[in-house]
């Protein structure tokens, strides 16, 4: 593993982690309850992502993701990934090589 890292084939710490544990969704016989549980779980995962990375991604990311709609987790996910994309691209456009997120590749979804 260390050899692979030293050779530059793979580098640690190059992703922002977005994690959803779908085993925590309530498996109710009522599909509406399950769907509501799934919605909450996705929104919670997105909120955790914002909590972990807003400090690093900065104000533009925070403002872009401030209008999450509770009933639209898929839309929230799309907004979040787009905001991350925009922020990382902006860092590269400005040529900020000293920025901690300069070498970050994107989002790693579990």
């Amino acid at each position: 593993m260390d050899k692979v890292v030293k050779n530059g084939i793979i580098q640690p710490g190059r992703y922002l982690i977005l994690e959803f544990d779908f085993s925590r969704v309530d498996r109710s016989r009522n599909l509406n309850e399950s769907a509501e549980s799934l919605r909450r779980l996705i929104n919670r995962g997105l909120s955790r992502f914002k909590l972990n990375y807003t400090k690093d991604l900065g104000e533009p990311f925070a403002s872009q993701t401030s209008n999450f709609i509770e009933n639209d987790p898929a839309g929230n996910l799309a907004d979040l990934v787009e905001a991350v994309d925009f922020t990382l691209q902006d860092i590269h456009n400005r040529g900020e090589e000293s920025h901690p997120l300069w070498d970050v590749q994107g989002v790693y979804l579990f």
């Binding site: 593993m1 260390d2 050899k3 692979v4 890292v5 084939i9 793979i10 640690p12 710490g13 190059r14 992703y15 922002l16 982690i17 994690e19 972990n52 990375y53 690093d56 996910l77 799309a78 990934v81 787009e82 991350v84 994309d85 925009f86 990382l88 691209q89 590269h92 901690p100 997120l101 970050v104 590749q105 994107g106 989002v107 790693y108 979804l109 579990f110």
Partner: protein, 172 residues
Amino acid sequence: MPMIGNQLISLCRRSAVPTSSTLQFSSHASLLPHRRARIKRIPLVACRTSFTAPLPSSSKLVVSGELKGFPLSMSDFREIRQVPGGAYFDKTEYIPELEQGAKIRLVCRPRRFGKSLTVTMLRYFHGFQFRNLYEELFKVCRCGMLLVQDSRVHITYAKFRILTWIKLLKMA
């Protein structure tokens, strides 16, 4: 026989059984349209309970000091490595394989098989906020063994079994 992508599956009463431990999805299965070029991919490791045929494993058994047991109630990679006498199957050698392979993977293994541990291990390796922990959690010495704190030792599964039998014989 039915297929998912290019993977053959067989059907039984309760679940679809892949013939491979991982199902690889094509790139067009990504969740979102790529409006900008910056994020080139969104890797996905998903876990699902299923039965699979045994495959050659790259995992190694790692024990922290004298063996006391497997911390079965824990699945956090960092926490497990700090348990004195705790043993776990190290799957760090899969990281380069996962990196080189398909963008999206579905990992199918039975419960208690280390899926959650593997996911947390990947989180600690790839997570931006954990990059300072690489030396502590993933450092490997020249001989290819894990260089671990608290005098952890690396042993093969065969040796582990022999040691266990010796322990049991002494207890008898």
